[in-house]
Amino acid sequence: MTVTRSGPLPDSGDPYDVTVVGAGVVGSAIARALARLPLRTALIDASDDVGSGTSKANTAILHTGFDAVPGSLESRLVRDGQRLLASYAAQSGIPVEPVGALLVAWNEEQLAALPALADKAVRNGYRSARILAAADVRSREPQLGPGVLGALHIPDESLICPWTTTLAYATQAVRAGVHLHLNCPVLSVTPGEPHTLTTGRGPLRTRHLVNAAGLYADDIDRFLGHADFTVTPRRGQLIVFDELARGLLRHILLPVPDARGKGVLVTPTVYGNVMLGPTAEDLDDKTDTGSTAEGLALLREKGRRILPALLDEEVTAVYAGLRAATGQEDYAIRAHPRQRYVTVGGIRSTGLTASMAIADHVVDLLAEGGLPVTGAREPDPVRMPNLGEAFPRPYRDAAMIAADPDYGRIVCHCERVTRGEIRDALASTVAPASPDGLRRRTRARGGRCQGFHCGAAVRALFEEARR
């Protein structure tokens, strides 16, 4: 198993058969799909961990794709991806909660838009959407603010854990022989046979190349002479409320969409909290994942309207993620077979859901470029530690504690994370490189106190493991 984080890249003389640039949820899914093949594959990322770009900061919904543009590539890949990921999650221990969504109409115009949305869902192959009358909506969601006129019910919209999803893909890929190189930014590419990537850790040669660089996919494209699209970061700020707010709602509460995107929603998370967001702001700076006073004020104003009682709850965290908008209404997945190169661009607001289907699609495109895709074998299954509140967690598991008392030693009190889980994460195949990485693997320090009680203890465990 090869995971490197520093020093020159290992050089075995031969180039890699395929290299995937970008270890977000999309790149990791592609690496996992490639790991089934008898190839030498590399997965590289500029940052120190997998899934630390857009993939770590989204609203974590496993979409049905009911509202995609019918006939688009996104529509197909979201629909297939949902099915693939739901079953992968069940096998791998990634928490998924099928809570369903309500697209709530707050005025006549929105109410009038519901039938068209229901039709669109059908055209996207989704047949279970139903329009509910106001009274029915209210009985399902008693805490909704005043003025609800009706809703479209999408029973299959689900919650998922985005962190363990990316991690499961990467772990499985690494265990099946993929080389994962972190802290490895691609600085330029010299196209050729093989291509030579200049990285922050020296040259890397590869026959086939996959560009899954998210916000920077346009840069990588330009290195290979393509200028099909430009990525504009569209920031989404989010407020995460305390777990004690979880009882306020049962469904994902979606607004009726407008041209700017899916709009501000209120959703439970698999970790048991409630999330409010995201905003949609077009920026110039691809690194600006900061929150702003205006953004938070806007979210609070919208949230107060949707679920007034939510605003009385404590805020646990504030995040921002950047969607890779391209100005086009579909994914920008482009194959350049003669260059043995595939770009996976413009994976805006559904990439988590579609990831496995995108991966299969990319493998097909690579095959068109001459990549040998015979001899596929299913990799060994992975079993991720459960971070979901609706599933048994170690601190509640008498058998686990009896077998190993460290699962009874709670270190992070708000999130009930035990020493055993922290120890396991620190020793895992793709180990965390920072306390934040540890948080995404365990929830430690992710709770309401943000480290008042456990911050020092968690950091100490992290530092000790690094020594």
Partner: protein, 396 residues
Amino acid sequence: MDVRVDVLVVGAGPAGLALATRLAQAGAGRVEVLEREQHAGGMPYHLHHGGFGRPPRPWLDGPAYARRWVRDAVDAGAAVRTGVTATGWAGPLCLETTGPAGLERITARAVVLATGARERPRSARLVPGSRPQGVMTTGELLRSVHQHALPVGRRAVVVGAEPVARHAAAVLRGSGTAVAAMLTEHPYAAAVPGVPLLTRTTVTELRGRGRLTGLAIRHRDGRTGLLGCDTVVFTGDWIPEHELARRGGVPLDPGTRGPRVDASFRTEAPGVFAVGNALHGIERAATAAREGAAAAAPVLAHLEGAPWPQPGPALEVRAPLLWVTPNRITGTAGRPLLLRSGAPLTAPVVTATQDGRTLWRRRLAGPASPSRSLRVPPRWTVRADRTGGPVVLTLG
């Protein structure tokens, strides 16, 4: 495993331990104190400065003070169990616990919530900006320095200027971190020698990727600036640790955010009491301990079968007051009421009214400050109509 005890105290800080000591001394049967940390003693365990102990001569440092309470409780016959967390409820007086020895359900005749308080972190205060490392609360700072000897940073800013903030500044300096400034939204505060104090100032943004590089600030008159630092400590702004109370359906007071209690520390859930910082956020350790000790008599009365009273009239506050404890009048209060103002006032007058009738009015001796509670004598509470509307306290 199912266990039965007479009194289960959750939280081995000064409040819980003082109560357990009294109860065990009074022969209340099996008194058990649960503490989720590895050490009993609560917050003082992490406070390595002097000034703890029984007034008028406080002389102990925090850890010594904590140890003394633990010893008193154990000597009196209470069981103090560390590393055990109360995680939820299996019944009205039955708590579920997790510890290295496994899971338990502990049923008690009386449950006492003595779970303390925490500071609101940056996120709960909605301070915008990036999410770098180097952002913490006083609680994390103390534990980093005293318990784990972790490096903190080179240059810190302390947000807040109350006693806890000054303590944070001292701990930072003691650990080799320079304190670039302390800042507060309030118009005045006591400065720490050698540390610039910025009043009427708020943090408008955190900057830095990976590690904090600075804070954008704004003065109330509109001036803005940037403070370079790699560490920021958000201090004060306390909130009771009320998770267990809420999960058990124990009603909270909207002002304190702690369980609503009467003057005998009875919550509105029969058999469940609450004491110490769990009721109101931070007070001095002696106050928490005194509350714990004072709760012993009502807990004993409950064990002997005294009826749980109907919740009497609520005690409410109006701005600039933030909260009062107790929160209900079910009998004559034997101890002073604690009252907290959100704004400083030099010679405050407190007025208590019920259904338009003035029950009591007095000019208090000292000034009101947002960082210290006012004590209001309790005698006038006999005048409240037990079946009347809320008793409203105002400050002018």
